[in-house]
């Protein structure tokens, strides 16, 4: 993808730096921008800082056109990223609060995660899409999702070499399915692209980055944060468990909404596939991945439940963002960036 348009002083400087091949840049301005912004911002909604985090993480995934791959491990940029991550993580921890005592057996852990997934509140985007959304609103919804779904499963894959035993087998079993079980063209990211194409949308990763609001970037950045830090391997496992546990039923509603609008199986396949796949994945992720990890190492319990509660919290904010916009007759995308 191309470097996005900047959204404030920090991202403006960051993108200017990334555009250069000089790998010994002056990062003072970048740090000053962070020092100025961090004390009084809610980082979850900070367009400038979430975009910086997104770009810094993206260097570890597919990178950017015309940006040197060498920036990926640049110590100064990593230090800058660490500052943003510290603020982001403590914001999430503050929202999640203290973690109640974690049960000891895989079965009890799975049950508790299922209950947590079930108790998630917030307005249901799935219900709205199923019954009422217009084609334009479904397009907005797909664009919001695209910043993760076009690289679906990748952030959790970072954790594979950091796990052992039953938890690792479980994660690999899920990820294999996410990547299409070896069938070319059937990776979930590819099925998502097929859905986007069916609604006339650009399927290039990051094609709509300038329209994606901070809160959506934050939900994806959270996955990269959990996935890229070994100390947070429990959190990425908990994240995946809740993600899988809140997917089958909404996916059937999204598919229904698309059929209501007249789209056929090519377009609904992504969601149809998730009805069946995630009914499998949620069982494996709850019992074998999260449960297996904690059974093997009880010290990971709080991290798993931190990740699980964090995704519930972020899902609620993201749902509310979209429904508030639609309730007020606005686009859920960033103003002025709706069309391209």
């Amino acid at each position: 993808m191309k470097l996005p348009a900047h959204r404030g002083p920090a991202s403006a400087l960051l993108f200017e730096i990334l555009g250069q091949d000089d790998l010994s840049p002056d990062l003072q301005g970048l740090n000053e921008a962070a020092t100025l912004a961090l004390p009084d911002t809610d980082i979850l909604y900070d367009e400038d800082l979430q975009l910086c985090l997104f770009a810094l993480y993206e260097l570890h995934y597919a990178g950017f056109d015309e940006v040197s791959d060498r920036w990926e491990w640049h110590p100064g940029l990593l230090a800058f990223r660490a500052r943003l991550e510290a603020a982001f993580e403590s914001r999430l921890r503050e929202a999640v609060g203290s973690i109640p005592k974690v049960p000891g057996t895989a079965e009890e852990i799975a049950m508790e995660l299922f209950e947590l997934a079930n108790s998630s509140e917030g307005p249901s985007v799935a219900d709205f899409v199923s019954r009422h959304a217009s084609i334009e609103q479904v397009q907005q919804f797909l664009i919001q999702k695209s910043i993760y779904q076009l690289k679906e499963a990748d952030p959790h894959t970072w954790a594979i070499p950091r796990l052992t035993g039953r938890g690792k087998s479980a994660l690999v079993e899920i990820q294999f399915d996410e990547y299409g079980s070896g069938r070319p063209g059937k990776m979930h990211s590819e099925l998502f692209a097929q859905t986007m194409a069916g609604l006339g949308l650009d399927t290039g990763f990051g094609a709509y980055i300038n329209a994606i609001p901070a809160i959506t970037l934050a939900s994806v950045n959270m996955m990269s944060l959990f996935g890229l830090h070994r100390r947070l391997r429990g959190a990425i496992a908990g994240h995946l468990a809740i993600y899988e546990m809140t997917s089958s039923i909404p996916s059937s509603r999204y598919a229904r909404g698309l059929r209501r609008l007249g789209f056929g199986t090519e377009v609904t396949e992504y969601f149809d596939e998730h009805v069946e796949a995630d009914a499998v994945h949620e069982q494996i992720a709850g019992r074998d991945l999260a449960g297996g990890l904690i059974e093997a190492d009880p010290q990971l319990g709080p991290a798993v439940f931190f990740g699980a509660r964090a995704v519930c919290f972020m899902d609620e904010l993201l749902g509310r963002w979209q429904m508030d916009a639609w309730d007020q007759g606005r686009s859920s995308l960033r103003a002025g960036e709706l069309s391209r």
Binding site: M111, F114, V275, E276
Partner: protein
């Protein structure tokens, strides 16, 4: 899999489906294979799935085994 291990295993998921892993076939009543795209499958146990024999998560909506 070693000779002593079964070729397939079935996990009875409390309040949920049967999780079936390993080497097995799913046939309909006429002996025809049921379309299947994944190795490990979840078979509906609650009766409410719209994609039987597979589970679609509906057991979470109908309180299946909630009181057991």
């Amino acid at each position: 899999m070693s000779a002593s291990e079964p070729e397939a295993s079935i996990v009875v998921c409390p309040r949920g489906p049967l999780l079936v892993r390993g080497d097995f076939e799913i046939l309909d009543a006429a002996g025809q294979p049921v379309p299947r795209t994944r190795g490990t499958v979840a078979l509906c146990r609650c009766g409410a799935s719209a994609i039987k024999p597979y589970c679609d998560g509906s057991h979470k909506l109908n309180g299946f085994e909630k009181n057991s």
